[in-house]
Symmetry: C2
């Protein structure tokens, strides 16, 4: 295994000056609904609005002066793009963020606000790869993958590390799975003391199919409102998941919307649809968690109140 | 003055076992927008979703056994109704809550969930008074006014007391004004060390007109989305406000909506429109608060995500 619990601890020391130690919230009413004790790690209150700040800061601040001097680059229209832009700004280096041309203005603005350069490409996987390679060749920037990267995985694992310390230990921990950066890091931080479950939308079930068949699904066509979970799971993320994750729990789109409604009205937290798959999975699998002390990572809060799935 | 800082401190000791010591949140991005340091007291995370739990618990737990034995009653379809129902349930006594017949189902459900009896009346002030008097006569319950009550005022003041302790002191403190329970309690807790400002919607400006003319406005026709601020300011609340509040700042409906959008997207907190009048007032009066350390009480988070003012 290429990432160890020691790497997660080192990452936590490295990033601590640049991130929030986010609070843990709970709701007695929610606990009564689900029949277990839920403790929510509020990464929606993290810098740049998502846990992605952890991995991005760890990757950027781990670079040698030589590797860092030409800046960093990535492809991401979402939270990783903004988080990497912020991390680069903190270190005083350039960031080059490749985004599809149909990215919403509000997401572009978040990236630009951290002083990054935006490179637009056609909204296809091929165009993205080509644009990124071109940017790296032109600038000499260091590519920081959104999830299939040891330093990113170690950084994302620090959220679970903090949650375990803040709660005095957990029976189970639930995290959403997209590319697998958070689930891999969380599993390294929490396994085997705590059982780790990944939650995934049925409409983007590549990690589920990979986990059940043992063969990495490398292409799929996700159609989920969970915009943070549309990526395909990475190879090293999958290997860690096979080793340390107890199960992957699927949820429907309507279950995600219902869970998001509960989080907004009971916890009073603004969270993205991607953050609600975990509560949805608890609700669908109540017997599995009955009476347990269950940790849940609320991954991010970057959602546009003008564009909500409720009505 | 009938309520002293000592009463607020006593209230805090009395209610501490039954309420949350709510967290204080801040956002660097918001600070950059407004040009001062904003520290938000998250009473949207309070028990029953609003600061009203403080005053209700203080009133209910201050009653003698004799006064308490027949229960408590009030008229309120909103946060005070739910908070009083909860406080009565904690003490093991009955609560009778008079609400207009057009109250939304979600608000009724919140009151019923705390085991209270609901008494429906026609949606007029007269009908409400009649129904309340009838209920008090029938049951012998003790009437707890939503704001024009010393124990309620002392209880509401505990939010500012906590905020001052959590922040190490403030230059200014902003709170919304409706009936005036929170503004009176906050002013007693914070004045004169901290300047206290009330914020009010232009479309419900009875407190503003009372404050500016020195004569209590006792009837008005509010038409604001801030459903918690439609009440007319109470007599004792007005007297305290005249003595200890620096100014009342008016804001438009659009300014409230814009400020609520900022709170949702930057602080990631689900708050009611009534909670956004304070940030709106800071934005409209930036020079007044420039460079200051400013406390803001986010009063409540009971809002229906299916019924938002943004779109």
């Amino acid at each position: 295994m290429s990432v160890s619990i020691g790497d997660v601890r080192s990452a936590h020391e490295r990033i601590a000056p640049h991130i929030h130690r986010t609070p843990v919230q709970a709701s007695q009413q929610l606990d009564e609904i689900v029949g277990c004790r839920l403790l929510f790690k509020c990464e929606n209150l993290q810098k740049a609005g998502a846990f992605k700040s952890r991995g991005a800061v760890n990757a950027v601040f781990s670079l040698s002066e030589t590797s860092a001097k030409n800046g960093v680059a990535t492809h991401s229209s979402g939270n990783h793009g903004a988080a990497l832009a912020r991390a680069a700004q903190l270190r005083g280096i350039n960031a080059y963020i490749v985004i599809p041309s149909d990215t919403k203005q509000v997401k572009k603005a978040a990236i630009l606000a951290y002083g990054a350069s935006i490179i637009e490409c056609e909204p296809t996987l091929d165009a993205r790869e080509v644009a990124l390679e071109q940017a790296v060749r032109d600038t000499g920037a260091h590519f920081v993958h959104p999830y299939d990267d040891d330093l990113v995985i170690a950084g994302q694992g620090t959220a679970a590390l903090e949650l375990l310390a803040q709660t005095g230990g957990l029976d189970s921990l639930l995290v959403p799975v997209g590319g697998g950066g958070l689930v891999a890091g969380s599993a390294i931080a929490a396994h085997p003391m705590t059982r780790v479950y990944a939650a995934e939308p049925e409409m983007a079930d590549d990690a589920y199919r990979s986990f059940k068949t043992g063969e990495l699904v490398t292409s799929h066509t996700p159609r989920t409102i969970c915009d943070g979970l549309q990526t395909t799971i990475g190879a090293r993320n999958f290997a860690i998941m096979q080793d340390k994750v107890s199960d992957i729990l699927l949820v429907s789109e309507q279950e995600v919307i219902d869970a998001m409604y509960l989080l907004w009205t009971r916890l009073k937290q603004v969270v993205e649809p991607s953050s609600a798959v975990t509560l949805a999975a608890v609700i669908r699998n109540q017997k599995l968690f009955a009476g347990q002390k269950v940790g849940v990572i609320l991954t991010g809060g970057n959602v546009d109140p003008n564009d909500l799935p409720f009505t």
